[in-house]
């Protein structure tokens, strides 16, 4: 806007200020400054270190490191375990959300509160606790070993740890959508004589699945990067139960920064792609709960 030079004595009793910024509400410059400074320093600047480290490698070196058989085995373990954990959470997270929204029963509030425990509990604490519970002499382990199931120090332990730490995602994305579901649609379908299973498949599930998929994707992304909870229960046997995060950590302890960076760049790329995919997906299907 071209600012007026002759605003002069419009209201002399009031302080006159040119409307320099066009903005009605205050603090645009200040909040933009703080946000950009913070995002550049904390989020973006550190990425440059990784880029420089990786770009110093030749493609062959890079390829050699990221396709090392032990590393490839860790990709497989991580992705399969994360898939299993998010599938578990997709099913049981949906069930928990359903129970919490639809039914009244004693202890409901406690369950609702406990669902957030995995977000509040430090991952290392979760890790040693699960390892202790599922160890051969632990509360769960001693019963499971009697029927020949071993969980601690096997890939299944990784699934348990991942499922634990990402349990809240599905519940907390599905819950609000389930709450907003209009009872009329269901009532109409039921009054037309449809069975419960039929109504669930035809009326309820179509409304839920975008949220469910978002929750599962968030759970999967979190599981891919999980470290603290996993390493205590995994047993960390090369080629069998090593996750990719641990591979990066091991390379770091060997002071092989280049190799650690190369593997990390693969992991980072996958997480960023997942993040942007989820964001786009949410923008398309979950306009109402933007920001979640």
């Amino acid at each position: 806007m071209s600012t007026a030079s002759q605003t002069g004595a419009a209201t002399p009793q009031r302080r006159l200020r040119q409307n320099r910024s066009k903005r009605v509400l205050p603090g645009f410059g200040l909040s933009l400054g703080i946000s950009l400074l913070f995002i550049s320093l904390i989020l973006l600047l550190p990425l440059t270190g990784l880029v420089m480290e990786v770009s110093a490698m030749s493609f062959n070196e890079f390829w050699f490191v990221v396709t090392d058989p032990r590393v490839v085995a860790s990709y497989k373990v991580t992705v399969l375990a994360a898939l299993a954990a998010s599938a578990f959470n997709g099913a049981f997270g949906l069930l928990l959300a359903w129970v919490l929204v639809r039914y009244e029963f004693p202890g409901k509030r406690l369950i609702d509160a406990m669902v957030d425990l995995p977000f509040a509990l430090p991952t290392a604490v979760a890790g040693i606790t699960l390892a202790t519970l599922f160890a051969a002499n632990g509360w769960y382990g001693q019963w499971l070993s009697k029927v020949g199931i071993e969980i601690a120090f096997t890939p299944v332990g990784i699934v348990v740890a991942m499922a634990f730490t990402s349990l809240p995602f599905v519940v907390r994305t599905v819950q609000p959508v389930l709450e907003e579901l209009a009872p009329e649609d269901e009532e109409a379908a039921v009054s037309l004589g449809a069975s419960d299973g039929h109504v669930f498949r035809r009326v309820i599930f179509p409304a839920l699945w975008p949220a469910l998929l978002t929750g599962v994707a968030l759970s999967f992304t979190r599981s891919l990067g999980e470290f603290g909870a996993v390493i205590f229960i995994a047993g960390n046997m090369p080629y069998v139960s090593e996750v990719t995060s641990l591979m990066i950590f091991i390379r770091l302890q060997e002071f092989d920064y280049a190799a650690a960076s190369a593997i990390a760049s693969v992991v980072l790329l996958v997480s960023l792609v997942m993040l942007f995919a989820i964001t786009l997906w949410q923008a398309r299907h979950l306009k109402r709960i933007e920001g979640r």
Binding site: A10, T11, R17, Q18, V24
Partner: protein, 378 residues
Amino acid sequence: MTITVNGINKRFGKYQALNNVSLDIPEGKLTALLGPSGSGKTTLLRIIAGLESADSGRINFAGQDVTGLHVRDRNIGFVFQHYALFRHMSVAQNIAFGLESLPRKQRPSRAEIHKRVTELLEMIQLPHLAKRYPAQLSGGQKQRVALARAIATRPQILLLDEPFGALDAKVRKDLRRWLRNLHDEFHFTSIFVTHDQEEALELSDQVVVMSQGNVEQVNEPTELYARPDSRFVFDFLGQVNVLPGEVQRGRLSQGKAWVTVPGSRHQGSAQLYLRPHEVRLANEPGQYAHLPLRIESVSLIGSEVRIELSPVGWQSNSPDNIWEVGISHAEFNQQRPARGDLRYAVPEVGHLFNDNDSQPTTINWAEAASAPLVRLIN
């Protein structure tokens, strides 16, 4: 304080919200910005307030350019559509907010603020609710608190965005009357935005009709209703009956319907616009018109009997192909029109839009009655 709007343009992305709008708002008058949603009326109001800035153009208050002045310094009262009351402050705190925000030198003492708030609470007839919170008030009460808050600092300009939009019909009527009295007492220069033609015509001294970012017409309510400048204003202000057709040798016809159009030299397509009260119903076709219609429904509620009719042997392009005619209860009792009856519409005054003209020519058959007689003899 007069307000002058000069050549205002505003775009939101690709959408032209205001298109070179110029306007004079007279001092001490209540002006309505009337238009359908998307016409730019709220944007214009927010630009006058300073809540939005125009891409180009200027705003003057009492001859002083305030275009570059921040909303905080324009000293206006603004009533938001959804009131925007501060939800965590009591009614009294809400009303006091503007006074407490004054620069220290002009700020009244605590006791004075208290006194002023009490006065305002009495004025809006809610002194007993001073300690309530906005969530505990009804819609009409919230509206009055919002008004009191807006005028607490005695601004000379009062701007209201859809002030009665969210209220039910009865409360609306009371508040309208109350706002009119308030305005007459304090003589602000007021502008309010509305999409309700009845509200605009009843409440304001001057109506600005807007459509698609343009000002269509500015006039006093009575003039505006009697002499609309364009098809848009005609359509937008109340019910209208339309006869589209071809004009040939002084007669507009379509199918079985025809009307003489004295004084028109136009040949070709045209539309005749008629208000419900500009048409009479007769059992026989009139001398100047042949408009057969069948009665579809009769509504007795209200001060007038409203009759809906459908054309017989011709088409109207008004919604649902329906004409509407109002007759008095006395006439109704005489004629006893019933569903299914055939009647003939006899126009008294009408407005003819030729082909591409945006402005109509008004035809008064009653006045023209003597002239065509002469022509018929010829």
